[in-house]
Amino acid sequence: MNRYLLSAGALVLGTGSAFAHVTFETQEAAVGSTYKAVLRVPHGCDGKATTAVRVQIPEGVISVKPMPKPGWTLQVKKGKYEKSYQLHGQAVTSGVKEVDWSGGSLPDEFYEEFIFRATLAADLPAGQTLYFPVVQECDGVAERWIEIPASGQDEDSLESPAPGIKLVPRE
């Protein structure tokens, strides 16, 4: 709850000053393939050092394995998928739903990358964009990269868009 209050403060003071968004290095991936996600964090929240990065894993992204980062505590939250997926001939019904790197300190003037590897389910819709909402926490404030454009809405019009990858058909 405290965090919500703090991040409420962040929304008041903060947003609108995003010079650069949180994005993925590779912005295109084929469905049914393994994807190495490199999340680029270009700045802190309003000049404050980043202390945590939390990524929500969307439905259809399975077998998630985050890369540990020295100086940061790595945690995952697991849960049930909405449906069952086939992975190497086996049915998978649950797995990682959220990845948290926390306890670190990334000053505003430095750049950092947060990495995880995942499998994109074969039945994800090719041609669409898959969004990974990210909450970037700093000391007492937060930036929420969680906006997903409505159908027909221009992504550029969003203040804090969630990073996404364009899904392409399987090769």
């Binding site: 919500y4 409420a8 929304l11 008041v12 609108g16 939390r54 909402p133 909450v135 929420r144 906006e147």
Partner: protein, 545 residues
Amino acid sequence: MSAASLQRAVCTACKGASRLAAGLLAAIMLLAAIAAPNQAFAHAALVTADPADGAVLGQSPAHFSLTFSEPASPLVLTLVRPDGTAVPLTSFRLNGQTVEIDNSQMLGSGTHVLSWRVISADGHPVGGSVLFSIGAPSAAPAVSEAVDLDLRSAIWVAKVFLYAGLFLGVGGAFAIAWLAQGGRTGRRFVIAAILCGLAAAPLSLGLQGLDALGAPLTRLAQPGVWQAGLATSFGWTALIAVVALGLGLLSLVGPRGGAKLFALAGLTGVGAALAASGHASAAEPQWLTRPMVFLHGAGIAFWAGALAPLGLAIRRKPAEAAAFLRRFSHTILPVVAVLAATGIVLAIIQVQAPAALLGTAYGRLLLVKLALLFFLFTLAATNRWKLTRPAEAGETEVQRRLVRSIGIEMLIVLAIFGVAAGWRFTPPPRALAIAAAQPASIHIHTPKAMADLSITPGHVGPVAASMIIMTGDFGPLDASQVTLVLSKPDSGIEPIKRAAIKPGDGTWRVDDLVIPVPGRWTVRLDILVSDFEIVKIEAPIDIRP
């Protein structure tokens, strides 16, 4: 001003009494013309309309709804199509403060006008219109909201005659029965005043019906007009007034034994008739205002009613009049005290802020009335403390002056009636303040979330916003954050962004908000549904100047 110079002033006035009267009447007419506002101000203010004013709809709506600041019943609802043809809307329901209207016809594209006229608790009709467009806006059809000056004049004249009937007629009957005690001088004058009132009361009802329906004078003969008039709270005033006038007449021409009783009942009726409708009676708190109006009305009848019989009695039968004069001068002081006290209380309730005395038509009429009252009180005080005793003693020169002075008092009283009748067209500052304080409200409905948002007061300046957030299907939505964003792209003002707080009553609030300019703003709510999910909904909202 010394007593001597006061007397000189009074006597100068005596000589020019007829000129003074003509001047006063002209001044009243002029003031009434200046004070009459050009449009009906809201007593029951329109709070929300669906479709909203200025809305552009994709398709023809199946129904309309109008929500007011207090319960109001529709008198006339009309839909004006883009080609200017008007269609009456007759199928509607009252749901609390909301009027729900069915629309059975398919509306073509273009701008339509939903014109409404409703009546609220004070018995005064108000009207307005809502413009909306199907497809895309077109040139708005012309809707006449012009003031019917003929009707207004007729209402004003009828009202003055009704006042004359109630105050001079019924009040006069009371004076003859209780103060003259056997003297019958002035009886003819009083009967004439009562007959005036008896003609004016039903006529006022028909005129009220015309005003209620926004119909011209030529439709006065139609029964629907009279029904509409009767259905307003003024219907009660007219009915009670007729009974009071009848009782007054009965006390004069009926059996002598019942004269006092009939006259007293008539005087009570005068107070009741005035308390039944009008601005002052409709004001809150009702337990205070209605008795105050009652006492004020009865007090006026007592005082004004006694003037004509008294003056005539002194002129014609000075010997008999002495007892009349004595009784009147003994009772008038407490009556005037009650009049002044009730008048002051009602004025404070209605005007609220001293600035409204000059700033509103209602306040200006009150100032005119106060000026006339000052005149009246000066004359009355002179009569009471300088002239009454020698007149009672039989000094004929003083008696003549007293009669002239009473004559001028009568003229001033008539002028005051004229001013008071002008209030019929001016909403009191109290009602204006209520209308100004009304919030601007909108309902935003999207599949993901919806919100009821009110900005209070709905005009520029410091405001507070209150929001109720729900899911798209009216379920509870326990948001973790709500941010209000107000923008006005055409004004060059950067979006105003404020985090809302949760006071704990299920709403979200933003206090300390200042809206700098009036007009159409875009309001957006950023609702953080969960840690990773945000819903943004937006809609236009109209902020009054």
